[in-house]
Symmetry: D2
Subunit: 454 residues, 4 copies
């Protein structure tokens, strides 16, 4: 039995290729199907089945395109009403080579969630691994808020029953294969470790140490963000997204063309680091550093051309493929030659003032007036923040922009200075002038032992 895990970094999504003796299954494929086809070729395997654990909300699932390319059949649960693929029965079994896959119904994250138990008949009938989708993660469990407030209690109870009644009983020895890892918005506290087992979760997953009532209470009150692009993902993953094929070509534009595209409505996405964006950037660009690219789903429009700014042409493939994996087929170009093409012909740049701990501290101590804007999530904020800082989550900043005063210097704060740079770019786009990004942010604040308000 052969197992390979694939990670789609932008949304920290895991998919699985499991095969034996020339045949294989894929669980929860990402949109860029070529990775599975290449593995199939290298391993001399044929993809027979594609299993979806559930209707994904945060990325475009590649099932339909992969089925088209490989000839495999798609299977998923009975909710929602998918327009493609086959609906599974609980306990339905599939065999490829020595691999036996058993689909079990594990609702909670959504009513249609399935998990896939995998046995390796070369060794015996015991479960070897289980693909749990968004039911169970390393150190966390799935969200239960997608049905809206009315369903939340019901779905949370359902999730508890699925985990406690169907997944954990498979045994401590079973390897855990979830759909997401650390950094995903589908869980709040997924661990950075990607290797786990049901036993490890039973022993150490903090959510699983709660009683049923505590669990439900915890889940009902948990806070999650709902990024606007989810809506399109949900639509795509029910109806089937347009095929990716070879993907969108991302062209070099000269500074002149770039400016003219901007004038016609193109949106500028600067993926450079907070330091570089702080140093100099094109006015009215969004800064979404390449390692937190999924925040694009909060702001970037699907219906206008998106143009990238980067100093590293090698980033472009990652940027365009990753944005395509969350449905953006409109990354049509980039600034050829990077920012220096822009300023070398005298086009205007803007900077964002960067401040570190020692400076901020002295300002605050000096009594000068600042508006401290903490763009972390409400949970992070409540765990400890700088006194007087106001909390608006970075994803909601655009729509709550009116709450920010125009007459004060604004210091944007997050955990390390990265999300704050996104937030600061939004403020600059909205005409705010005296904006600071606090580099190091709460991490350095805590590191140096300064007082936190709760």
């Amino acid at each position: 039995m052969f197992v390979e895990r694939f990670k789609s970094k932008i949304v920290s999504h895991f998919s699985y290729f499991i095969g034996s003796k020339g045949d294989a299954v894929v669980v929860d494929p990402e949109r860029n199907c070529s990775i599975y086809l290449k593995t199939a070729q290298r391993e001399n395997m044929n993809i027979r089945y594609i299993f979806e654990t559930h209707r994904h909300e945060d990325f475009v699932v590649g099932s339909r395109e992969l089925a088209h390319l490989s000839g495999a059949e798609v299977y998923h649960g009975s909710w929602p009403d998918f327009t493609y693929g086959n609906v599974l029965r609980d306990n339905q079994e599939f065999r490829v080579g020595d691999v036996m896959v058993t689909a079990i119904h594990t609702p909670g994250h959504t009513p249609g969630c399935m998990s896939y138990i995998v046995a390796d008949l070369e060794s015996g009938y015991e479960a070897v691994l289980v693909c749990t989708g968004d039911a169970l993660f390393v150190n966390d469990v799935g969200r239960t808020d997608f049905g809206g407030p009315d369903k939340r209690r019901e779905w949370s109870e359902s999730l508890f029953m699925s985990i406690v009644g169907r997944i954990l009983p498979l045994g401590d020895h079973v390897i855990l294969c979830p759909a997401h890892g650390s950094g995903s918005v589908c869980g709040s506290n997924i661990a950075s470790r990607e290797w786990s087992t049901l036993g490890i979760e039973r022993l150490m997953n903090p959510v699983l140490r709660l009683s049923k009532e505590e669990f439900i209470e915890y889940k009902v009150n948990e806070r999650h963000e709902y990024a606007p692009y989810f809506r399109l993902m949900e639509h795509y993953n029910i109806e089937g997204a347009p095929f990716l094929g070879a993907g969108q070509n991302c062209k070099a534009f000269s500074a002149e063309e770039f400016r003219s595209q901007m004038d016609s409505g193109a949106v500028i996405l600067d993926v450079r680091s907070p330091s570089a964006f702080g140093g100099a950037h094109i006015p009215s660009s969004y800064n979404i550093p390449v390692d937190v690219l999924s925040f694009a789903g909060w702001f970037l429009p699907f219906d206008k051309p998106v143009l990238a700014v980067t100093n590293d042409v090698d980033d472009l493939e990652y940027v365009s493929k990753s944005l395509a994996s969350i449905g953006y087929d409109n990354v049509v170009g980039y600034l050829g030659g990077g920012l220096s093409s822009w300023y070398s012909i005298g086009y205007p740049i803007e900077s964002l003032r960067l401040v570190v701990f020692s400076q901020l501290k002295s300002w605050l101590d000096s009594g000068k007036e600042y508006f401290l804007l903490d763009v972390r999530s409400k949970d992070e904020y409540e765990e400890g923040h700088i006194k007087f800082a106001k909390n608006i989550y970075v994803g909601l900043l655009q729509e709550r922009i009116k709450e920010i005063p125009k007459d004060l210097p604004i210091v944007v704060i997050c955990g390390s200075g990265t999300r704050a740079s996104i937030g600061a770019s939004i403020l600059l786009r909205n005409g705010y002038k005296r904006v600071y990004n606090f580099l190091g942010a709460m991490r350095s604040w805590k590191e140096l032992g300064y007082p936190l308000s709760k």
Copy 2:
């Protein structure tokens, strides 16, 4: 000014990417356009124009797909009647950055052939390089037989006038950028060296040392093969081929599936070496070793699935991309696990006897009767062959199969043992039993100083 040459190995085709200051042109793109888009991205350039030197006969030109992906405009000559792109005027000029391209009419290979003179205005107005398409090669000139026997003299004269009247006068210093290199069927004697200039050709190209009359006579009498797949290429290159996109997926088949595909009419293409094919192969497969893959154009059908046999999964990408570059979008699979998947379940194999010089010599000396089949081109044959050997070009063997006796052992002979393996596989497919491939073939025969008939 930036220049990059791309080589499509299967038909030894060269294309050129030439750019300056953010803009670029591509000359004679191959079907797999992603290579130009990647270069454009790496060099921060935008492809503005795509130039075709002529209606290519031996591969699918990628102009239309590249234009679609890059937004560039396509230009070509006035013959034939292309259904896409723009027709050039003689001496029409194009400028991208410091690059000045001048299109000149250089008919002969076809009536519509264009050459593209490139100057680098950073240095001055003198020509720096010229893209000559199939007019002038390193050590050879283009074929003049595509118009049929009636036009051949006229086209040959035309070619002479184009080379002598328009290309060579550009000056000895001009770098030669032809559409083909060594191994192409578009010339008979193209040198292996890929770097040349007009001066080098003027001084050393043997065809350019002929007088006009000698040149015409030589060209009119020159022999060329016309591979059947050319017809589809000509059609595609006038009408525009289907877009390649991400290309055809090439699946692993189990031996059982492979056999069942064969039973339903799939054609087997064994791309292993002559030694490996000789050792063991699946009955009724074609052997076209991976380094002479273009012979596929003589035999492989376009309307049936093609299945590959190789021991090296890494070959598959080359095989499927290369066959796609000559129009085969039907390479749907391969034997997963290679030949051992086949014989390990007891399926029958066949071998092809391999013989080297010393053995063949002793057989011939012993007076035993053999049918010697020389599958090289008529020209090669006439330059020297083994006494009594009969010449049938490997490309024509299938249709002339009746000329081969069934009651004698047959020794297939080529230059080195590679084309002979193709020929031998055709004989085996046609029921011949006592077939030998002479490894080393004429090369070893000559190396060892044995007598040649002429």
Copy 3:
């Protein structure tokens, strides 16, 4: 916590890179250390400790060179008397970032074997994975024969106690990280699946279902091969091998030079497939197909130049790196241009007759006399073989060559036709003429339901 497993394919050896927050440990590094340094760089980690589970017998451990390059400290058990590194105490703990490593003494495979329990303090103190070296594999346990017959019972008991008393009690939930996978000679029946846990092994590993007495009896009577190169590995792994650095350069030789090197004593290693070797090969070469390269350790000398024959230049890097990983620093060249360079100048080739099931069956049925030589291991042979076949393990064939009659045609048999090709090449080197390789071999024989003797 970050974990990456590396596989050295030639001996199916696993090493592990485990890190957290900028620091890392490596367990059982292979000789080519650059792979760990690259991972360290990509993950922004510093290698602090290198742990050896035991004195490896089948490959060169890279500890000393990796320590030199990274500044890390090496640790291992107290047996044998290593000339480098530090000796561990039982239960000694090491911490890097959130990773806690506890070394435990798990003798049996050797008296000095250590296992390394890894906890991820981000989640808690429970063990997450354990590196068991050659104590416990997926579906098998380590050999106990390296101490010689006198120690075997003692070591076997010791191994039982280590597994049952120290490893399994860590809990079903713990992920198993052994030093070898399927194909290794360090276990007889390691499963192809590379993912397992202690619980999976407790439930399904057949050796772990034996009682203590049964286990000891089983291990004492188990048969293992001891490849001659092990002796050098043991020496290197106590004393420290020469540093690999950038590795040996492997040069192209012309056929003439190749022959002259052969005349001066160079050994020829043909890594092509059994079909290709069968079709044609250079007389007196060993055939060790690239996918079973570790058999080199049975035959290849360390003190003479080794020259490779392959048709695929891309194999060379794998061949020379892999042979270096088992101590061969003498792969100095290869036949440039592959076999056709050889036969194209008329040099002699030899072939090896290949036979498949149907032919062999009809021969046997016809009563013609053949010597059937089964080169599989004694265990495989005893599980079922063709009547009258004589068993000599391929590794011992050279030294037992006198047992093979010179006056009969010899059919060499293994599982699939690969090891038989090695064996046949040894026979040919020793002057046997009528040698056949049975392609498909016992696999096809069983597939087709023919009778087996036991």
Copy 4:
């Protein structure tokens, strides 16, 4: 005949691999020899000869190490007194396959300079290409200042005679293969185009249009910079540099370790863009953006550890290999996790104010006092600069630092903002506080049509 050109980007150095029928020569190899060995392997060729055009001054030549690895022989001219290799006779000939190499003495750049004429006997005896080292470049000729002022006239005359008397007479048709391309300090005005011929140079190279007297006068008065690291290169290239082997390992350091290394004397090399350096950087680091890395040779010590700062781990291989190619074997580490590792624990950062055209213009117009420091070369400065700007070449800034006033804000100016960032980092290291980098610099100044002083 096969030709491949290799480019070592850091010093824009070209080397050449030229081969035929299994044998090859390499001209002017760079220190990282593995690139030639890989090509030799891919092309099935054996490197027989290594030719040096001259004692290189700006990079470490790899001849001795490549000779050691390949068995090839090294040849060079008779000046200086090399401690390795063989001295050539004028017109000495070498043959490998169909390639004929003729070494000719072309002094001028140094007294021992050789050029190598290459003919392809497959086509004939005419020269096909010539490797001219530092005698003749595309659009420029070599420096003549390395012998000191006393020799300069003599060497310049010598160079003229070599070009006019020996190189150009080879014919317009000969392809030019120089040792350097655009960006090299070995020529002032080398064109960006890398393809040229002797004829193209004869027609368009501005230096070749001068009379002998004009040429000498021009060369004698030409200004060149002499970077301090040249001295070590000259030494290495006479004595032979230490072998590179697998190269220096470049380790991730935590911010704490990084700081402690700094405290022990390590030098910090920040290779990020001017924008990023401007935004935030570690105090007292040098900024040498990755695309102008060769400036390291002006400042970086050879005898202290060098630590890199970059946000892109992928840059590290380029940085350490490239610095090794100019003799820096002391790039021992980098800041793991990039700059955010530093500021996230509250360590201090510094910024460099960035200004663009419009701001600078308004400041200047306002009459406020600024010290304008133009760090371009004297030639560039004299071609046109901003009024009142003082010129100190960036390479000399450290030693002339006293000429910069401490009491004025300083605006550093170069062509585009890149070298100015190097200069500004030097000022900051020297305690200057009010330092500005003018992004876009003279390029935007000219683009917008503002007045230049000459």
